[in-house]
């Protein structure tokens, strides 16, 4: 009742709770269960080895060289850890990491507040809540690139709708600010569009959390005369927290990797004010063609996200167990 096995985020997160099923009693003529199992699983593994692992190993190898893919015949020189040292002392890289951190933190803060708030409201089960939930979900299903592209239109200083709406409600001159061209506003523009797009994601997961809380807990609290406020802090929030943390994990990983929407919205500009790590990586790899250097950067990014995700999952499991 509390949470079905499959409804438990930590089952996914710990990746250890899947119960290995008991072996079916009968064996099949010819093939043993074990070889059959491998027959079923092998195609996926081969594909992933070919398209993910082999290129990853290749990238690791390249990261120790000075290879430039626009000059494939230039003499290949192994430079050891020089690329890694260059990256860690490169100011542009650190600036890109700061821009990424700003983007990740603020999108998560806003999406958690808005998403959780919306989930609480929808959970009041007013008439037509199903329909309106579906409407709210639309943005997150759309192509981030196409979203980024059409938001450049909405955020245009002269012809765009956004400035006009802001002007209508606040009385500010609609020509007095540029969402995408201004050094101060551009970092918030990418946060704004991402929040528009992904708040429903957090909302949907929070809603599942709210619906997993058995109603008799509230009834008991009501009998004990706990105030609504107290019920929220002692029942609702702790029970939704694992779901909320799962949503934050997914949003964190996705936005750390963010490329498509921001590349079309600002392409890192003005200057390099909104240049996220992935955009810097694309510049180094596919505009400057510094393949060795960018491979090292790619591996640093992957290790960062992988490491952070693992630490986070441990924290998530601790919250779950409490």
């Amino acid at each position: 009742m509390l949470m079905k096995a499959g409804n438990d985020p930590s089952a996914f997160a710990s990746h250890l709770t899947a119960i290995t099923p008991p072996r079916l009693s009968r064996r099949v003529r010819g093939l043993s269960d074990r070889s059959l199992a491998w027959l079923f699983i092998a195609p996926v593994m081969i594909l992933l080895l070919a398209i993910n692992i082999f290129p990853l190993i290749w990238a690791v190898r390249l990261s120790f060289t000075n290879f430039k893919s626009n000059l494939p015949n230039a003499p290949l020189r192994f430079v050891g850890l020089a690329n890694y040292a260059d990256i860690l002392s490169d100011e542009d890289v650190w600036r890109a990491m700061q821009v990424t951190a700003h983007f990740v933190v603020w999108t998560i803060v806003l999406q958690v507040l808005l998403g959780f708030g919306l989930a609480l409201l929808i959970n009041q089960k007013f008439r037509g809540h199903g329909f309106w939930t579906t409407v709210i979900l639309l943005p997150m299903m759309l192509s981030p690139a196409v979203v980024g592209n059409f938001w450049t239109f909405l955020l245009q200083p002269q012809i765009g709708l956004f400035n006009d709406i802001v002007a209508f409600f606040t009385g500010i001159d609609p020509h007095s600010f540029q969402m995408l061209g201004d050094v101060k506003l551009a970092p918030w523009s990418i946060v704004l569009v991402d929040t528009w797009m992904w708040t429903p994601y957090v909302m949907l997961i929070c809603l599942a959390g709210l619906r997993s809380i058995p109603e008799d807990i509230y009834e008991a609290a009501e009998v004990d005369r706990a105030s609504r406020w107290r019920q929220f802090w002692t029942i609702t929030l702790p029970m939704v927290l694992p779901f909320l943390m799962l949503a934050v994990l997914f949003r964190g990983i996705e936005n750390f990797k963010m490329f498509d929407m921001v590349n079309l919205l600002t392409a890192g500009g003005p200057g390099s004010i909104t240049e996220l790590a992935s955009i810097t990586l694309k510049r180094e790899a596919f505009e400057k063609w510094r393949t060795g250097y960018s491979s090292a950067f790619a591996i640093i990014l992957f290790v960062t996200v992988f490491g952070a995700a693992n630490i986070y999952v441990k924290a998530l499991n601790r919250v779950k167990q409490r």
């Binding site: 079916l24 079923f40 996926v44 993910n52 919306l118 809540h129 599942a208």
Partner: protein, 322 residues
């Protein structure tokens, strides 16, 4: 879980049910949020039916004379001609020719939008078919057999999703150049399959775990082989799950931008990297871009409505189920 809620929502006297006034307030706030969320989408839909001057007028026009110019511009390439040249032409056969000539232009040929759309469909369906087929096999393997290290393998499959796409693209770009897979259907289908397969294995394993194993055991006792039992007993029961998974894979391939941008140029380019480059005379032709965006997003809107029962599962890789 759901049964409990159905019961409690009938109980009007339930102590924790929202008051009628609370419901009205919650409903109003949610509807306001939903409408605000819809504004950008409605604006793009409206822009698709504006004339180019109307689309960039200041202040932005809410009421306008609808025209199909944007759609005509999207599907055609036009060239400007002198009035004498136009006067000597035979009268236009179709309404779109008349529309173009009223701007002193003639249709020079079809634009690239149809081939790009076809590419999106081919790559989308091809990769979806492969990812679902391979994913179904692997999910069955993980769900029903004792696979050594199965948790680690499952986590490995998931972790391929954590790499930033640009990081993956660097070695893939080199590998595809060597193999001649750059800008080909096969290359893009294989790549999208590899990305989608993690989602497909995780989702389908969840769906398969929910199918009672008694059916298969009965079939095995009746003399079916393992493969027959899989084909005739498990697959028919997993059809809903397979369909939902397929739509999620299709949406990913449909929306993907980074790989398409870096690995395709002419032959296999899909819609997302193409749409931002729809250009008219003097800059972006916004009605045509809006028309392309509308055309491109419509299938996703339909899919979202179809999928709404499975959305939660899909976006969390099966970690949270309703």
């Amino acid at each position: 879980m759901n049964a409990h809620f159905a019961a409690s929502s009938h109980a009007a006297h339930s102590v924790v049910a929202a008051s009628p006034r609370g419901k009205v307030i919650a409903g109003t706030l949610v509807v306001i949020y939903a409408l605000v969320t819809l504004v950008p989408l409605l604006w793009i839909g409206a822009t698709a039916f504006k004339s180019p001057p109307d689309s960039i007028s200041y202040p932005p026009k809410i009421f306008f004379q609808p025209t199909l110019e944007g759609w005509v511009n999207l599907f055609t390439v036009r060239s400007r001609q002198s009035p004498e040249f136009l006067a000597n032409l035979p009268p236009p056969e179709h309404w779109w020719e008349r529309l173009v000539r009223s701007h002193d232009m003639v249709i020079a040929g079809p634009s690239k939008v149809v081939p790009r759309f076809v590419n999106s469909v081919v790559v989308g369906f091809g990769s979806t078919f492969l990812a679902v087929m391979l994913g179904t096999l692997a999910a069955y393997g993980f769900s029903r057999f004792r696979v050594p290290l199965s948790d680690d393998l499952l986590f490995f499959i998931l972790s391929t999703r954590m790499m930033p796409p640009i990081a993956v693209a660097i070695p893939i770009y080199l590998m595809y150049r060597q193999l001649g897979l750059t800008d080909t259907y096969l290359g893009m289908i294989l790549l999208y399959t590899a990305v989608n397969v993690s989602l497909s294995v995780w989702l389908l394993k969840g769906f398969m775990d929910e199918i009672p194993r008694e059916y298969e055991e009965a079939a095995l006792v009746d003399g079916y082989t393992r493969l027959q039992a899989f084909r005739k007993v498990v697959l028919p029961q997993a059809v809903t799950g397979i369909a939902a998974t397929a739509i999620f894979c299709l949406i990913f391939s449909w929306n993907e931008y980074a790989f398409a941008l870096l690995l395709t140029s002419g032959n296999a380019q899909t819609m997302p990297p193409f749409i931002p480059f729809i250009i008219g005379e003097g800059g972006q032709d916004w009605p045509a871009v809006a028309a392309a965006t509308t055309l491109f997003l419509m299938p996703i809107v339909v899919f979202t409505v179809v999928l709404r029962k499975h959305l939660l599962r899909g976006i969390t890789f099966g970690a949270v189920r309703k």
